[in-house]
């Protein structure tokens, strides 16, 4: 089939949807949406339309990024704007639809924002929301807007035109275009993508492979999942473009098994590509042929590392190899192989469609374009965001994220997961680019961004990460296998109140050895959480060791709970919540905690509305 015809048809169908003469409802049905109850909202919407005898259509869309508002529903009357509602229950969804579609009242007090024709009384525009305003969407351009299971939606919004452009260029020109764009890998290390493609293109060999790394092993990150769930074709198109540029006809997507919905969306997308002639022996008559296979991971963090990933695809234990040889020369089954992250490929398709110059117009001199982040932890507005490189951390945390909960103090932000570090609040002026974050001891990473407040212990955090890396170390090289264990033992001692001040020297020493001596990126970066906290939160280590105090109230042997008799009004909620009967007191009189019985589970602390329970 001819692409012009496909595009015409897709655009016609998209226009028909835009001009739909019936109500159109969009419901975010990504994993986050479902976790918050989107399935019930969907059922309620369907039922309510039926009850009103309205024809209306319901579209399942991906994540729009405001995850803290899930479940989210957008409602459009024919010719009107989309009005978004958040934090829905089935009942609330029903009330909204009845009120708006039947009685004409959009219920501004329940609405979050609107898109399209406005203004709407009492409802802000989507782009004006404080969370959205600083954002620029390139990789996430379609997420939450199109039906990810409908290839025509993607095509109608400009999809696959980048591939069409690429197929009319020489492969060398495509490589040059990516080089000119300044795109750097979004999987963590930030290696220039064009250069990497050139290595693979120039490597001698008949059979070459391209792999999309969708392992997303960093706990606390979900950018790649959201992109694959919300707009799988943008990534697949990027893969095709990469394959054409490198000169290969077979590709793999290595995706973690914990992402069943993303896997399903990819399978659907591949089927549709085949139907539309975008996959197979002769893609759209260009003579270029390409096949994609999906490989499910099996739960090993180290398999995100390139050589381990390839060992896993080949059916073995995911153990990294030393390099050289680099995968570009000797990768999957010994053949030249190029590996790119999901988001990198999502950017590639946009660059080919809009041009290198356009892309390079965003970001800073050395870090071009945008970066997505999974904003989570102790911020008010959690979600999936995409910001221009060079934005300051404080803009992300305070403006986009809305800061931490009222009355709490923000302490740090963690970027880069187990390979990254904790950046303290007084450095939030730092611009987000590869070099600045590295200089601060952390890394850009793949996009996990976890905000921490005063109730997060900065000795417990490196301990948490080390227990992860020690567990995930493949065991092949000694510095990583024993070093992570050693660091974990020391941190366990410190958190358990058995640390000595000499431990800090040893900790520093071991962390340097592991960093320098490990075979792969897992070990080389595993000390980062330890080193950054030693650097920025030394006083917390000292408080644990010398003062035997964990002020955050996390390390159990180093704090206890007390009830302030002045504040306690004897409501009794705490004693009801206590499962071991440690809280006693008469009704309406101030209560107290028996230290010998208390297990420090924190139930009373969380339950007290009057903040009478204190961490001491």
């Amino acid at each position: 089939m001819d692409f012009t015809l496909i595009k015409e048809r897709a655009e016609k169908n998209w226009k028909a949807l835009e001009n739909l003469r019936q109500p159109l409802i969009q419901i975010g049905m990504g994993t986050c949406g479902k976790a918050a109850g989107a399935d019930e909202v969907y059922a309620a919407a369907k039922q309510t339309l039926k009850q009103m005898n309205l024809l209306g259509r319901i579209l399942q869309v991906g994540c729009i990024g405001t995850c803290y508002l899930e479940p989210i529903m957008a409602v459009r009357k024919p010719g009107g704007p989309f009005i978004y509602y958040g934090n829905l229950t089935a009942k609330r969804a029903e009330d909204i639809l009845l009120s708006y579609l039947r009685d004409g009242d959009p219920k501004p007090e329940w609405a979050v924002c609107f898109t399209g024709e406005g203004p709407v009384d009492g409802i802000p525009r989507f782009e004006d929301l404080p969370m959205i305003k600083p954002q620029v969407r390139i990789a996430l351009r379609n997420c939450g807007i199109i039906d990810p299971e409908n290839i025509e939606h993607y095509i109608a919004r400009g999809g696959y035109s980048g591939l069409m452009r690429a197929l009319q260029m020489n492969p060398e020109e495509v490589v040059q275009e990516i080089k000119d764009s300044g795109l750097r890998g979004r999987g963590g290390a930030g290696f220039p993508t064009g250069m990497k493609w050139e290595f693979a293109r120039k490597a001698p060999g008949q059979t070459k492979y391209i792999i999309c790394n969708a392992d997303e092993g960093d706990p606390g990150a979900f950018m790649d999942r959201s992109l694959l769930e919300g707009d799988p074709h943008s990534v697949l198109e990027g893969m095709l473009i990469g394959a054409y540029a490198i000169g290969c006809n077979e590709g793999y997507i290595y995706i973690r098994a914990e992402y069943p919905l993303a896997i399903k969306r990819l399978e659907t997308a591949l089927k549709q590509m085949r139907e539309y002639g975008l996959l197979g022996r002769n893609i759209l008559g260009s003579g270029f042929g390409f096949e994609i296979h999906i490989k499910e991971g099996a739960g090993a963090f180290v398999c995100g590392e390139e050589t381990a990933l390839m060992a896993s695809i080949a059916g073995g234990r995911g153990m990294p190899l030393s390099r050289p040889p680099f995968p570009a020369n000797k990768g999957l089954w010994g053949n030249p192989t190029n590996i790119n992250n999901v988001e990198t490929l999502g950017n590639v398709s946009a660059i080919l469609a809009q041009g290198a110059k356009w892309f390079a117009g965003f970001g800073t001199e050395k870090s071009k374009g945008t970066k997505t982040f999974a904003l989570a932890g102790k911020v008010e507005r959690t979600g999936l965001i995409e910001v221009p490189m060079g934005i300051r951390l404080k803009e992300i945390i305070h403006e986009i994220g809305g800061g931490v909960a009222k009355g709490k103090k923000v302490k740090a932000v963690q970027t880069g997961g187990p390979s990254g570090g904790c950046i303290p609040a007084d450095l939030f002026d730092l611009p987000v680019d590869y070099e600045s974050l590295t200089a601060a001891g952390s890394i850009m990473g793949s996009g996990g961004m976890v905000v921490m407040d005063e109730e997060t212990c900065m000795v417990d955090i490196p301990r948490y990460f080390l227990s992860f890396t020690a567990d995930e170390s493949c065991g092949k090289c000694i510095p990583c296998r024993l070093g992570t264990r050693q660091m974990l033992d020391i941190l366990n001692d410190i958190c358990g109140g058995k640390g000595t001040i000499e431990d800090l020297e040893i900790l520093k020493d071991v962390s340097e050895t592991v960093q320098k001596g490990s075979l792969c990126g897992l070990g080389q970066t595993a000390p980062n959480p330890v080193q950054t906290t030693l650097r920025y939160f030394h006083s917390e280590y000292e408080a644990h060791i010398l003062g035997k105090k964990c002020e955050a109230g996390v390390c159990k042997p180093l704090f206890h709970y007390e009830i302030d008799p002045e504040t306690c009004n004897g409501c009794g909620v705490c004693s009801k919540k206590c499962s071991v009967g440690a809280v006693t007191g008469e009704k309406k009189k101030s209560h107290s905690i028996e230290p010998d019985r208390c297990t420090k589970c924190g139930a009373c602390y969380e339950a007290c509305k009057f903040h009478a329970v204190h961490i001491c």
């Binding site: 606390g220 979900f222 090993a300 080949a314 234990r317 989570a376 959690t382």
Partner: protein, 173 residues
């Protein structure tokens, strides 16, 4: 006595394994790179990897048993012990950790009197931990069988467990 790492499927379930392998022989060619997908296929059907299945896969792929056992034990996804009727998975990712997932895990451990990887004596529950479900914005997260629950606290977690118990006991009556 220490529990053995690997377990055999009980004799009365042997037919199940034979039927499963009849399908597997059709679906796979027996190449080495199919090893992990085969293990995943078996676990999806049986809930865990019994010793007989691991040996059968070694035969099918012509890989050594050591290679098959070595690969299977490398990956966190694979289990070598039977599981309960309901699998409760608590996220221990960073966002969930910061939001107190360890307290939820402790509460569940105490309530069911088992630790991660173990099965309750009545066979109703297995609890497990997972590195991250990718729903960090709604931390803390818990997954019951295939349903994901977000923004949990201790009492909601316990309520979910109790609801399952009530449902299951209703079925038995």
């Amino acid at each position: 006595m220490e529990q053995a790492i690997y377990q055999e499927l009980p004799a009365e379930r042997m037919e199940e394994i034979e039927g499963l392998f009849a399908e597997i022989r059709k679906e796979f060619k027996g190449r080495a790179d199919e090893l992990i997908p085969m293990l995943q296929r078996v676990q999806r059907a049986l809930g865990f990897l019994p010793e007989q299945a691991l040996l059968e896969i070694a035969r099918l792929t012509r890989l050594s048993a050591a290679r098959v056992f070595g690969t299977a034990t490398f990956y966190a996804q694979f289990r070598f012990q039977p599981v309960g009727k309901n699998i409760i998975r608590v996220c221990r990712g960073t966002a969930c950790h910061v939001k107190g997932s360890n307290r939820i895990l402790e509460t569940i451990e105490e309530h069911l009197q088992v630790t991660p990887g173990q099965i309750t004596p009545d066979g109703l529950f297995t609890i497990e931990t997972v590195a991250c479900f990718g729903s960090c914005a709604l931390a803390p997260i818990m997954v019951v069988n295939d349903s994901v629950y977000g923004s949990l606290n201790r009492s909601r977690a316990l309520k979910l467990l109790d609801e399952i118990r009530v449902r299951e006991e209703g079925l038995f009556k």
